[in-house]
């Protein structure tokens, strides 16, 4: 697609368009867009209660997507935390899969299975990648969790 200015549209334009506004997962988990996709210069830890999972991206886009869930405002027992982690992993997989499927006309990208990263207090952004972040609210069991996605990607040369 070309703008009237003749300038080709950028990756972040397509990615922003592909991210779903809302997802209903098994009628009891809802992901609702919270902040739009923004270019980010660094990834900082929001709270000490953030857990991350990583998906490797391959195809026309290369790199990975880190997904974080913050449980700061919720006092969770270890069994509840395990259950939430399982819900979060699959919700992030569905969110990312749906996003990349919507990108199909411009970029054909596949994802790995989710890999647990635990807590990431610092994370280096590699210079050769573009970095974008966006956030969602994950609503589960009448509670709202803050979820953010950080894409570190580049177009295949």
């Amino acid at each position: 697609m070309i703008l009237e200015t003749g300038k080709p549209l950028s990756l972040d334009f397509y990615l922003r368009k592909a991210l779903p506004e809302e997802l209903n997962i098994f009628n009891h988990i809802y992901l609702v867009s919270d902040t739009p996709l923004l270019k980010s210069n660094k990834i900082v830890e929001k709270t000490k209660y953030e857990n991350a999972i990583k998906f490797i991206l391959q195809g026309d886009l290369q790199g990975h997507c880190l997904c974080f869930i913050d449980t700061y405002e919720h006092k969770l027992e270890s069994t509840q935390l395990n259950e939430l982690q399982s819900v979060f992993k699959e919700s992030a997989n569905i969110l990312l899969g749906n996003t990349l499927s919507a990108l199909e006309k411009n970029y054909l990208v596949s994802i790995s299975h989710p890999m647990e990263q635990g807590r990431l207090s610092s994370y280096k952004i590699e210079d050769s990648f573009d970095s974008y972040s966006t956030s969602y609210k994950l609503i589960y069991n009448l509670k709202e969790y803050y979820v953010r996605l950080v894409f570190q990607i580049r177009e295949k040369r």
Binding site: F26, S86, E90, N93, N98, L108, S110, I111, S112, H113
Partner: protein, 129 residues
Amino acid sequence: MNKKDARILVVDDSDFSRKEISKYLEAANLNVVGEASSAKEATNFIKDRHVDIAIVDIVMPEISGLELTEFIVENNPDTAVICISSLAQENIVMEAISAGASDFIQKPIKQEQLLESIYKLLSNGFDNL
């Protein structure tokens, strides 16, 4: 085949999805005979038990759902496979069908869509395999 007699296996590395899919099926009085969290577990399960329909997630660690589908179709021709995945680009759907899947459903799965796919297979008596 009566829908209650159909033996269904759910294969997904996500505990959460496996349980939710099984709940959807059991709520419709369908017979979930097993759940497997990997292709290896699934092949072990079907080695000595008959399964009419296997619901198989494509993106799984180690052995993918596409490889598992090929294995099932080759070794258990009486078993129909429904592939599921959060990714649903045309090439993935085509790969699933080429591997021998009878249907493909994108996640998040809707109960009515899953049941429609199963009932269609049962009413066809798996003629489409």
